[in-house]
Symmetry: C2
Subunit: 132 residues, 2 copies
């Protein structure tokens, strides 16, 4: 049994939680948890976050039906971030996109060069490349 | 060209950045950037973060050689998190682990049940399961 207070929370009492799709490996979203959200997530296996804007707990998919069934929860080496492995029902993003990182203008979308090892092309993007 | 100030930074001027391995899809780490770290990352294609503990920029792998060559940078739907797709040289974690989420006691490591769809087992863990 891990004491959830062993984790390192920020000054708001929150820790960033990354949700990754168990099957596709896609990073679905980043949201925030406090100890209670994490406790609820572990107890129910449904991803439950803390909404900073609404200042309330939200069970992912509670209204949309796009729930996240949690298979694994890991912390990182500093215990200040957690990674959830989830089975995502439907799209993860409230916009209807499969992930929250899907359809927003990429800051960087293409390799300028193949690098010293001649590595392969990055994951294809259907959007126009926008570099800063 | 995206104005990097369009992103939403926290009260410290920081945005969480997830690094994901381009080839394996593994989530390697979560770190923090400000506009300057992001600008440097986009300009050099080497992941550059802001260290909250040391209060300085750090080019990932600058001392260890375990650099991250950045293929893609995407923001999420709220523009308050970014996802880097990287080619990781060597282990991502300063402990020598392949990822920062690798070897730390999982908070939840096994399915309590296979779920309504009889889904397959989650990714295997070599560590003992520790549930809260």
């Amino acid at each position: 049994m891990i004491d959830l207070t062993e984790l390192t929370y920020d000054e708001r009492g929150l820790i960033p939680a990354i949700a990754q799709d168990r099957v596709s490996g896609k990073v679905l979203m980043l949201a925030w948890m406090d100890t209670e959200a994490l406790r609820r997530t572990l107890a129910t296996r449904r991803a439950t976050y803390w909404s900073r804007s609404r200042q309330e707990y939200w069970v992912k998919g509670e209204s949309s039906g796009h729930t996240q069934h949690v298979s694994q929860v890991r912390r990182d080496c500093d215990s200040d971030a957690i990674l959830l492995t989830v089975d995502q029902v439907g799209p993860a993003c409230h916009t209807g996109a499969p992930t929250c990182f899907d359809v927003y203008r990429p800051l960087l979308a293409q390799e300028a060069d193949a690098g010293p090892t001649g590595s392969t092309k990055p994951i294809e993007e259907s959007h126009a490349a926008v570099s800063a």
